[in-house]
Assembly symmetry: C2
Homo-oligomer: 563 residues x 2
């Protein structure tokens, strides 16, 4: 029995509200929903809040109830189940009497794990026989779900309620088609129906606040967390998730490869206000003690079911890596650097056959649509260095991902596509253009790209440069990179540095695309700067605490701050 | 008498060599010169050094003799006077018996300053009557100076001596015209003669190693240092200069506004291996106790002479800000944010006339060409926020800068142009295109641009994104921004963070432009990464110390490093 695992408690979770901010809840018009946002009070004569009263700036808020001191939370019970009623009201799901996965049951009924198991586990939901419960399926039937209205209101950040003229440079959007004024629920539905956007929201993760990933919406960012064989605890991972969403992570991927992966994920899910993604092959590999060639479809499928029933909202699946692609990597400088990609390449070579991810792809679709879990089709052959960028292997796999996207869409499974990697600046745009074409405008989700290989220790910056650019060109979500990339596992401060860096890159992309209202916060902060309203400047920052800290170091007197 | 000033000594100057590196000196073929570079030893079977022996990677090195343990240095005596003979051999300069500036003399003969004055001051050089001693003047006569051959060899980083095939992606250079293989001395001469490049090298700063600023060469970066009324000492500023060049600063601007500006600058110059720039109006303003309206041409001119005779290589002069531009800033969100710009705007409004910088511009040219001091024509009306980007005021001033460039060229004064500032990504390219057109392809030197206003504390990153892009589009030199931008004065670690961040941005631009050999280091580091040669990976990094530090934190065992 493992007594070394440390569990979260209310002391280990960050709940500090943001300075001069209050959480607001904007009601829906079509549905009985309340959309969470953060309102920053400022002393700015140039603006008024919605309704004309008080000077406020409303900002998109990923931090969930943690930053609202009025909400009582107990990490052992998990977050309020915001979407439970919406899901049940649709009448197309059933509650199972037990978990369906063999591994899930093993863990549930193992009394050695009682002390570290999240106690308040609900029985899983699944689509009733013959039903498809994906948001894509609803959207194609013309249904505007509460989730869709939620994201419409959320994306607007109340810009639709502002009375003042909003000065903003027209953007250059490379064919993206964001409405000029504000986002409507019908626009959200239409974007999902046309598969240009994904609303990741597993029916088993009702705690998550709906958000949307698509190039006609605000550019989103993902933060990776997860334990490893040598470090970290459930306590740390839950706090890392809370910490990452505090600074702006729109989704979190749990890439745990250490002990108690199942239980760690449960703790994370029950306390996460954002959708959670995983790479299921990582856990499957742990189940065969790291021997890639021993992986089977059965083990993998059981892992998918296990995670579907816990509430993961999207899976990275490297189904596009085909046997004939593998020799294309032989002449590369850095071969295959994607972990999932190298696992599957090893499997393909050992068995000299196409991977079970590829051959069982439609079976996977059948499964995912019962839980509304989306695909993040993995780029197992992404380039690991500039030299390998945009090569035959990378684009060969991308074409296969395009074919798989069509299959996923046949089942109304929501799908986005993963992209590179390491790419010099002048070769980034080709990635976006090819992806849009090969994958029928499915959303793109990239890791960086890093624009040089020579700056380990600063790779959050080398990748933020590429990320801002590819976000501008049309990428819908940017996976963060921390300063520890290539060197080690990120700690808490690295997570913050990575998230804020990618938040600013995503925002730079929103500005360049001309997303409606994106420049509002920049204008407000700039006026505060010009008028020496230091507190407003801090409060409007992406990271107010760092702004205050840096200001203090040089000018320690508080009266200097109001000079 | 001021006894609080702290002076540098050998203990306060960083002289640590880079790990597994040695300083090499590549001889010239036309001139008796030795060009300093750094050679990194690696265990890389894929490469051989020049001559075919040993695996080495040669890198551009701005750190001067400080990183060569074989050179004996005494900070009280200054660096070896590398270029003295080259300058004297041309036979067109004379050594003056005394300083020419009134202020310079006052300081020199003030015995209260004896204790803090650099002791080994040489008498200044100046062009003999009727002579023009600028590199531009020589280049236009077809002369390849030792300085020109030095930069040709330096730019190549020995890529011309490599025997192996060099894999590199062809770049996209937007009309830049870098040779496909390597840089020749004649190419350098021709680029200077055509005014597309500037080789800043005051005849009174013979200690500096020649470098070149132009869009057909490696993108350069500048680091700002300088004391202020409340902080810092001569000791700190000299070490900041050494520290900045260690991490890659190609030039350093001394923006001191505190006490003992003249003496601080002397200490910096005598110990600097890179050209030094200044904003002379800052010191002139100190001479009139901060009252902008009391500035006069005479005070300013005396300041120019003072600094020319000390050895400053380029002056930021905001001569393009004209009286009729000032009202254009009235409707801006952040008005005039350039310090030089706001000083001159205040002066223009107080006197209701064109500034003396503008009206005496040709007299300034007459002066500068006697010392080969270059213009960095300042953008006093650069935008201070996204909203003000690319506006009438900014581009109105740019057009005036273009006219002044033609005047400067009439006198063969080397000239580059300063650029913004705060600009959203999609509006950056217009800045480059307009500058090239308005200023006849004179080199562009930008501050960022920052691509969003909402990330104080992370503005080295918001600006590195814009800097990498504008460098790719053709900007020749990028002024660094530190994490303290907008919040406070950078300390030593901020300087390092800012320099390395801008070095990686400049390198990303070199890669995107397809600069010959730029990808060599990326390839070598990527191979080391793929082969788990950790030490090589660290040693090839822009900041090896940080890479080692970050790696250690997670995997503390040294055997993990060779795994």
């Amino acid at each position: 029995m493992d007594n070394t695992e440390k569990l979260p408690n209310s002391e280990t979770i960050t709940r500090t509200p943001f300075a001069s901010s209050r959480k607001i809840y904007v009601p829906g018009k079509l549905h009985d929903i309340k959309v969470a946002m953060r309102e920053i009070s400022v002393e700015d004569a140039a603006i008024k809040g919605p309704g004309g009263c008080g000077s406020v700036v409303t900002v998109y808020d990923t931090s969930g109830p943690y930053s609202d001191p009025d909400v009582e939370l107990d990490v052992r019970k998990g977050l309020p189940r915001l979407r439970e009623k919406w899901i049940m009201d649709r009448g197309d799901v059933e509650q199972l009497n037990d978990l369906s996965s063999i591994f899930g049951k093993e863990r549930l009924y193992n009394s050695d794990l009682d002390h570290l198991r999240f106690q308040d586990v609900k029985k899983p939901l699944r689509a009733r026989a013959g039903k498809n419960v994906t948001q894509l399926h609803y959207a194609r039937q013309g249904i505007i779900t509460p989730e869709m209205e939620y994201v419409a209101i959320r994306e607007n950040q109340r810009i639709d309620e502002l009375r003042e003229e909003m000065f903003q440079h027209p953007g250059q959007s490379f064919g993206a088609n964001t409405p000029m004024t504000h986002i409507t629920p019908e626009f959200v539905r239409d974007e999902i129906a046309s598969r240009r956007a994904v609303l990741p929201c597993s029916i088993n993760h009702p705690e998550a606040e709906p958000m949307i990933i698509g190039r006609n919406f605000l550019v989103k960012i993902n933060a990776n967390i997860g334990n490893s064989a040598i470090t970290s605890s459930i306590e740390e991972e839950v706090e890392k998730m809370v910490w990452a969403t505090r600074w702006g992570a729109d989704t979190v991927m749990d890439l745990s490869t250490g002990k108690n992966i199942h239980e760690t994920r449960e703790w994370i899910l029950r306390n996460s206000p954002v959708p959670i993604g995983t790479v299921p092959i990582y856990q499957a590999l742990e189940k065969v003690d790291g021997r890639a060639e021993e992986l089977t479809w059965e083990i993998f499928k059981d892992t998918l079911i296990e995670q579907c029933e816990q509430g993961v909202s999207y899976f990275t699946i490297h189904a596009g890596l085909r046997l004939h692609h593998v020799p294309m990597t032989a002449k590369r400088t850095t071969g295959i650097v994607s972990r999932g990609g190298s696992i599957m390449a090893k499997w393909c070579l050992a068995h000299h056959t196409e991977s079970f991810l590829y051959t069982h792809f439609e079976e996977t679709c059948e499964l995912l649509k019962q839980y509304d879990v989306g695909f993040s089709l993995g780029d197992g052959l992404r380039p690991g260095c500039l030299q390998d960028a945009n090569d035959e292997a990378q684009f060969g796999e991308l074409d296969t991902l395009g074919q798989l996207t069509q299959l996923a869409w046949k089942h109304d499974v929501q799908t986005f596509i993963e992209g590179p990697g390491h790419v010099p600046m002048h070769m980034i745009k080709e990635n976006m253009e090819r992806q849009l074409k090969a994958c029928g405008e499915a959303p793109f989700y990239t890791l960086g790209p890093l624009v040089t290989d020579i700056a380990p220790g600063y790779d959050h910056i080398t990748s933020a440069i590429g990320a801002a650019m590819i976000g501008w060109y049309g990428t819908a979500m940017l996976c963060y990179v921390t300063p520890k990339e290539h060197l080690g596992l990120p700690d808490r401060e690295d997570v913050r540095e990575g998230v804020v860096t990618f938040k600013l890159a995503a925002h730079a992309a929103d500005l360049a695309k001309g997303h409606p209202g994106a420049q509002y916060r920049d204008n407000a902060l700039s006026r505060a700067r010009f008028e020496f309203r230091w507190q407003d400047q801090f409060n409007l920052s992406l990271d107010p605490e760092k702004a205050v800290e840096f200001h203090d170091k040089t000018l320690p007197h508080s009266n200097a701050k109001v000079a």
